[in-house]
């Protein structure tokens, strides 16, 4: 089984490292045609503005939308979640292009700047029931987005109770195109809709691999074994130069 990881910028090395720990090969996706060779995709964390710009330069958006439309499993973490959302608020001037598909409204950089970044044990009942392990997951929120609203078809996998002192729109700087700017107390941080998975935090930065195996099971359900023959070809196509795999940073337990 081979999983594609969008490798424009951000924590794609970390995702590939987690996949490797689970015995799955992750391949870097930088060009639209590379998407044909994978049956599932992870869009990693990073700077969503930057990643959107690079995806635009690489003409990736049509291919990504097609990939989502075909019902292939896609998981976005942090910036990737913003990519998948149908609507995002708090973007840069002029907005940024999105892939869409996930029926929800995401507030980019909801929690504010780096000073407001934090770690929290997030309650994840659905994940725990499928993958076992503790009821909570150590979520690392780095200048993280949050999901403000979800459509009827979206399954909420985790939410986070924002301590009242933490809700600061320090990014009032960035035009917040929201109508009702009263911050809600509880925000959604993990969702699933059909074959799409989104998390506002970064499971690739911690040692707990349950989210990755959860996604692999989603991918397994959809992909099946039939496509494995086309997958093997990917590794061979990659020129050796791309394969000088980078050594990973340590992870947090």
């Amino acid at each position: 089984m081979v999983v594609g990881v969008l490798a424009l910028q951000g924590s794609f090395n970390e995702h590939i490292a987690v996949l490797r720990r689970l015995g799955v090969k992750g391949v870097e996706i930088k060009k639209p045609e590379q998407l044909d060779n994978v049956s599932s995709l992870i869009i990693p964390g990073g700077e969503s503005t930057t990643m959107a710009k690079l995806a635009e330069f690489h003409k990736l958006f049509p291919a990504l939308r097609e990939f989502v439309k075909m019902g292939k499993p896609v998981w976005g973490t942090c910036a990737g979640l913003i990519f998948l959302a149908d609507k995002a608020v708090g973007q840069k001037q002029g907005g940024q292009e999105l892939v869409g598909g996930l029926d929800c409204t995401v507030h980019r950089n909801f929690f504010g700047s780096q000073i407001q970044s934090f770690e929290a044990d997030v309650s994840v009942p659905e994940l725990a029931s499928k993958e076992g392990g503790p009821e909570t997951f150590r979520g690392v929120f780095i200048r993280a987005p949050a999901i403000l609203e979800v459509g009827p078809e979206v399954e909420v996998l985790a939410d986070y109770l924002v301590p009242s002192n933490k809700v600061l729109y320090s990014s009032s700087t960035v035009e917040i195109q929201e109508e009702n700017s009263t911050p809600e107390k509880k925000v959604i941080v993990a969702v699933k809709q059909g074959s799409l998975l989104g998390t506002a935090f970064h499971p690739e930065l911690t040692a707990d691999t349950r989210w990755h195996s959860y996604f692999l099971k989603m991918a397994g359900e959809v992909g099946g074994g039939a496509s494995s023959s086309s997958i093997v070809a990917v590794g061979e196509e990659d020129p050796g130069l791309n394969q000088q795999s980078k050594i990973d940073l340590p992870v947090f337990q």
Partner: protein, 310 residues
């Protein structure tokens, strides 16, 4: 990939997590989100927007770019917080700012105005010739410069969550950046092949904490994100840094001292993303207009910023 099953974990005393408020994971985390990106020096909100549009993953808010600090001389200090705030207001990407080495009050001010990363930088005039800032005391993460492995690990021990090899800022000459990256990477390669018994003496020789040296040996890389900086002026320079093993690139004077900043900024960003693809590198390097003039470092009058701190 013999050791593919190995999971290395932070916090075995190697880099300790000090305050509960901002654990080291959150500090390193932002640096990890910047990987594979370009961080650009900007002096106005307009330049910040150009950088953002070009795909920079962060901007460094400054009053003067290093090339101007070099030519104008005088004491270089932290930028006016007003300017940093204006730049912060104009973009959505993270904003970094420089504090003088050892000047922890400048760092406190930068933390108070909410910058995302503080660069304790040798490009500014030193405030303390002996000590760096104790970066464990801050919630804001720090990036620090280094010329070799020992210096990098000393900064990490002081609490830096990101390292940039120093290069020679404001020269447009990449030779020093290459020297420093080669030095760090070379030392790590030597370390990897070393017998465990020899690591104690090696740690003493490079004047770095033993536990961090040992962790570096086990990892085969620095335990934090490592960017290249100083003298990067072309897409090829940036890709060179990436191929030498850096996680990303700082571009200082190289963009906005060139003939066509918009195109050059975008080209450098694309070069970093596609650093191992010569076809793309060739394409993005075409017709970028004039690069910054650059300084020959053999001239003895050129002050070496990199040597200002140990």
């Amino acid at each position: 990939m013999a050791d593919s099953g190995v999971v290395t974990v932070y916090g075995n005393g190697a880099i300790y997590e000090t305050t509960k408020k901002s654990p080291f994971s959150v500090k390193v985390g932002l640096a990890q989100m910047l990987r594979g990106g370009v961080i650009m020096d900007v002096v106005t909100p307009d330049q910040a927007r150009i950088a953002e549009e070009a795909g920079a993953c962060a901007v460094m808010a400054l009053e003067r770019v290093p090339a101007d600090i070099r030519s104008q001389g005088g004491v270089a200090r932290m930028s006016d917080p007003q300017l940093i705030k204006q730049i912060k207001n104009s973009v959505t990407i993270p904003v970094m700012a420089k504090a003088r080495i050892g000047h922890f009050v400048e760092a406190q001010i930068l933390e108070a105005i909410g910058v995302d990363y503080v660069d304790e930088s040798e490009v500014l005039t030193l405030a303390d010739e002996e000590n760096h800032i104790n970066k464990h005391n801050f919630r804001v993460p720090f990036v620090c410069g280094c010329r070799n492995l020992g210096e990098a690990l000393r900064r990490i021990r002081e609490g830096a969550a990101m390292i940039r090899t120093k290069g020679e800022a404001g020269t447009g000459n990449v030779v020093e950046a290459v020297r420093h990256v080669r030095s760090v990477m070379g030392d790590i390669r030597v370390l990897r092949n070393m017998d465990d018994d020899e690591v104690f003496t090696f740690a003493k020789k490079i004047a770095a904490p033993y536990d961090l040296v040992m962790q570096t040996k086990q990892l085969g890389r620095l335990p934090v994100v490592q960017f290249a900086a100083g003298g990067v002026a072309t897409p090829a320079d940036a890709a060179l840094m990436m191929q030498l093993g850096c996680d990303g690139v700082f571009v200082g004077s190289g963009v906005f001292k060139s003939g066509d900043p918009v195109r050059r900024a975008r080209a450098i960003v694309q070069a970093v993303t596609n650093y191992s693809d010569p076809d793309v590198l060739a394409e993005v390097s075409c017709g970028l207009g004039e690069a910054m003039v650059g300084i020959n470092l053999n001239d003895e009058k050129v002050e070496r910023y990199a040597n200002r701190s140990e």
